[in-house]
Symmetry: C2
Subunit: 578 residues, 2 copies
């Protein structure tokens, strides 16, 4: 493509409203433009990268034997009512009414449509297993769309769905996708981790992994082990506590009997954990934090240690709740009889979800359910029930790994670029999608679902691959593999050489970007750095001796001189080895 | 792909609810399934054909230098208000509100988005001309979605938009698209005509052509000449009348003075043209039909000859009206003072749109604006004004061609598969999208827009290319080029040969469909005819002598025997010559 007439509106300044570096560079480099919050147009460079991602995804999907389909964005709301997701999904689900006043949703995913389709068309185990995939536009009305392509309201996803007759077959389909995802993200040049994940609102039984691109700017916490290959997202990660608290737990059984009776004491204005730690001169690990939540309208109390943070997803899953929110101060007063900050487990008449670490405490200080009072010598199991003890907190940096003896946990940031779920029969049962086995017995399909954020991948790659001058595209994704830059567009010899190389590459199936603009060299090189095409060939005065300059973007190597006659061959060799 | 595990749910019976043969075959052959009215899922075979169409379209677009983009489906309603289309588009425009209660439309086309985008990013003539295209999902809430992919509510379009600094440059961009469309439709194996068209609601100045696939099942009338290359759609086509009426017109000037005064006479119960022709014993061409319409809320009368039919698009364009509908009987009574069927032009105090053929009549019979009365000896120009004379009727079979002396018009049916429009400055003026010329003067962009119904093409191809047994895909579009059919999946020699050929083709980059199902040969061949893959290789008992059977779908030629060893080479030769 010739740059003079190419629609590549690069900018001189960083766009002011973009926070994430990938967002800044995609806009500055003329790859995307915002139409409205979370809704983007892909300009020619962005579209070319997107096509490359689509090609890689398609190739690796087909390599697993998955078959491509294309499902509609507009879906009948009734189908979503059947699956039960119409109410669960909340305001993120884009809803509308058609001219016949029928309710329609714009698909954020396609479990319902594909389950109904396969349920109608496949009736026997002999046609199983089958995995279907599509690369398609999704809609999700995010509360806070941001970071450019990282969190959009309209975006392209690859979603795949597997249908199997038994769990072993699901395992095989899941594994095939898991492996394909590794190949896809590797070809995209990403540093990533597959982490154990929580199944979340999409539900389902069995395993689920998220694929996380490692990036400081990521919105997700990933918990990894310093020693073994344990990796989980924050909703799933389990900490084993620090060595000190493990020790305390071990001592507990011996020591519990020696704790005096619980005793109320006056703590005026000590509402927060920080107030209590400062005011009482004790550690946060000696405090029992009691949080009152409303779970689908009913109150529950969740207890975590004072120095820990609660994980709402874990609580939601334990309660099988759709909505979970902190109770307001009025509700807290009604339930505990005290102002917020003085709730405690003793004599509280609502369900108590006790974090395992609290359950392991010898004794602690808790709220007294009376404003300005706390209770000391509170013994878990003696002074309140441990019936609903479980893991309700976030794992933290430095905790012991749940998977090995030697490691401790580290928390790093990541961008979710893919997920693989074992759905089991969640959707096939609800939508009555069944097949008949060899014995003539009917069963619901055993399903898996597998997603990749195709547009989001562009941002994830740039978050990892950029420098202070611009983007660093791997050859497989780059909008063009080669950038040909004559120093002066008015120099006939330079332009002739540039055109010759351009045509030669094109004949070999390699489309280059040829900078034929009437710009100064400085402007051209700045744009070239920004756009980040991997191979750059500058044609200057050296062309009098048949010489050009070869530079690889981001290699750190200086430019090398090369005969124009060799440049085409050098490009082919370089791209062969990518 | 191996058919046993391929998701190709063919049906034994024709689907009962499908009218068009393309709809029947696409469903029966397992290419598509309906999700809701006018909304379809593409199954693997359908998706493969769709990808082939996309590839052809993309290749031919890029060959013209057009650059690919991807624009959002969700568009701010305010942008549509700026262009003035928000109100004009009516209920076909899918509208919704997001969680912030902002009004959103789902794009049926993208003039607004692309004009705003280019207006923001291109400021100088030096970056012009530029043509941008996308292959993207569109939404249109059709009142009567039907005929499968021919009229959908969600469908894939290729839309392109050109931006130029002057009209010559627009002409060149238009011509490039016009030529590309010819190549695209030819590669799709279609018989088609480019016809002059009416610009319709999308508006704009200058030329516009529709590309029509010739098909008896088409919903559009195409008017062509028996002699010259004149072709126009019904909204645009102009008839020159039959020779008889032309003669009458020529005689008129001489004869007008001899017509007696207009005279009212009693015509009880003669309301319709048929009633009058029968009751009065005169020809329809001697009657003046007066139709009362409401155009954007104001009444108008349109006069056409009794034996002609009115074309509402022509009337709308003449009035520059958004909405046009026949007045109800109450309104007719109020305006004419008579029941429906007795309206006439004499003394009528609303605008009169007089068709040229009526204007050319010596005299005629018209309604008297009094129930049960008509008027005879009504002379156009004498008894009512011809100020708004124009072409308001449909051209008809057998009329003289407006373009040549020798030909007469024929009306054939077509399916609109593409259109090319010169938009001029319609959108760039409304959205204030401007560039600066070499002299520093600001102008609105001069635009063109160019559409192809990508999903609709599948149906158009099948409407033309099928026989009583199924579809007849051209090799470039076929879901697979080769269908390998072992007679018995239990015969080891046959299966081994089939697998060998399958792998050999795959290595050469040709993906075949291998029917490894445990079905009877009859079922396999029936499905093969239905699916319509162009080359079929049946492997039966002849394999003992290394022989297979080669048959080309739809060629009419009998199967020929061939050495298995030669089959791969024969496939490559055949596909090379496609």
């Amino acid at each position: 493509m010739r740059q003079q007439t190419a629609f590549i509106p690069t900018m001189r300044e960083m766009p002011a409203d973009a926070e994430a570096v990938s967002h800044q560079l995609l806009v500055k480099g003329g790859f995307i433009r915002q139409l409205s919050a979370g809704v983007y147009s892909f300009l020619p460079l962005g579209r070319r990268v997107l096509r490359n991602v689509e090609r890689i995804v398609r190739e690796e999907m087909e390599r697993t034997g998955a078959q491509e389909v294309l499902l509609p964005a507009m879906q009948p709301a009734d189908l979503w009512r059947e699956s039960g997701r119409y109410d669960v999904y909340g305001p993120e689900l884009v809803r509308l009414r058609d001219r016949g006043d029928r309710e329609i949703v714009l698909g954020p995913t396609h479990e319902e449509v594909i389950t109904q389709l396969v349920g109608q068309e496949i009736s026997t185990y002999r046609k199983l297993p089958v995995t279907l995939f599509q690369i398609q536009t999704k809609f999700r009305d995010e509360r806070r769309p941001r970071f450019g392509l990282l969190r959009c309201r309209e975006f392209v996803m690859k979603d795949a769905y597997s249908f199997a007759a038994d769990w072993e077959s699901l395992d095989a389909a899941y594994r095939a996708m898991y492996d394909a995802y590794h190949r896809i993200f590797a070809r995209c040049g990403l540093a990533f981790r597959a982490v154990e994940a929580d199944a979340g609102a999409i539900g389902g039984e069995g395993g689920t992994h998220e694929f996380m691109a490692i990036a400081a700017s990521g919105e997700d916490d990933v918990v990894t082990c310093s020693h073994c290959d344990y990796a989980a997202n924050m909703e799933k990660a389990v900490g084993r506590g620090t060595n000190a608290s493990l020790k305390a737990s071990a001592d507990k059984a011996d020591a519990a009997e020696s704790v005096p009776d619980a005793e109320k004491f006056h703590t005026p204005n000590l509402r927060s954990i920080e107030d209590l730690v400062a005011g009482l001169g004790i550690g946060g690990n000696e405090l029992i934090k009691t949080l009152i939540y409303m779970a689908d309208g009913s109150p529950v109390a969740v207890l975590v240690r004072g120095d820990r943070s609660l994980n709402e997803t874990k609580v939601k899953n334990a309660l099988n709740a759709v909505e979970l929110e902190l109770a307001d101060s009025e509700t807290v007063l009604e339930i505990t009889g005290a102002a917020t900050g003085f709730a405690g487990p003793v004599s509280l008449r609502i369900p108590l979800l006790v974090d395992l670490e609290v359950a392991a405490m010898r004794s602690g200080v808790a709220g007294a359910n009376e404003t300005d009072f706390h209770v000391r010598h509170v013994v878990p199991g003696r002074d309140f029930t441990l019936e609903k003890a479980g893991d309700y907190r976030n794992a933290e940096e430095g905790e012991a790994c749940p998977n090995c003896e030697a490691g401790s946990l580290r928390v790093i940031r990541g961008i979710e670029i893919g997920h693989v779920f074992k759905l089991g029969t969640k959707y096939s049962e609800k939508l009555n999608a069944r097949f008949t086995d060899a014995a003539g017995v009917s069963h619901p399909f055993i399903m898996g679902c597998y997603g990749i954020g195709v547009t989001r991948l562009l941002s994830a790659v740039i978050e990892q691959r950029h420098d202070e001058n611009g983007m660093l595209w791997p050859a497989e994704l780059a909008p063009f593999q080669v950038h040909i830059i004559p120093v002066s567009h008015q120099d006939e010899a330079q332009m002739e050489a540039a055109n010759e190389l351009y045509e030669q590459l094109r004949e070999g199936g390699i489309e280059a970007l040829l900078d034929d603009r009437g710009e100064r060299l400085g402007v051209k090189l700045k744009d070239a750095d920004l756009i980040g095409i991997p191979i750059r060939i500058v044609i200057g005065k050296g062309i009098a001796e048949g010489q050009v300059e070869w530079k690889e973007r981001g290699s750190g190597e200086p430019a090398v001189r090369m005969a124009l006659a060799d440049a085409g061959e050098a490009v082919r060799n370089k791209l062969k080895n990518r």
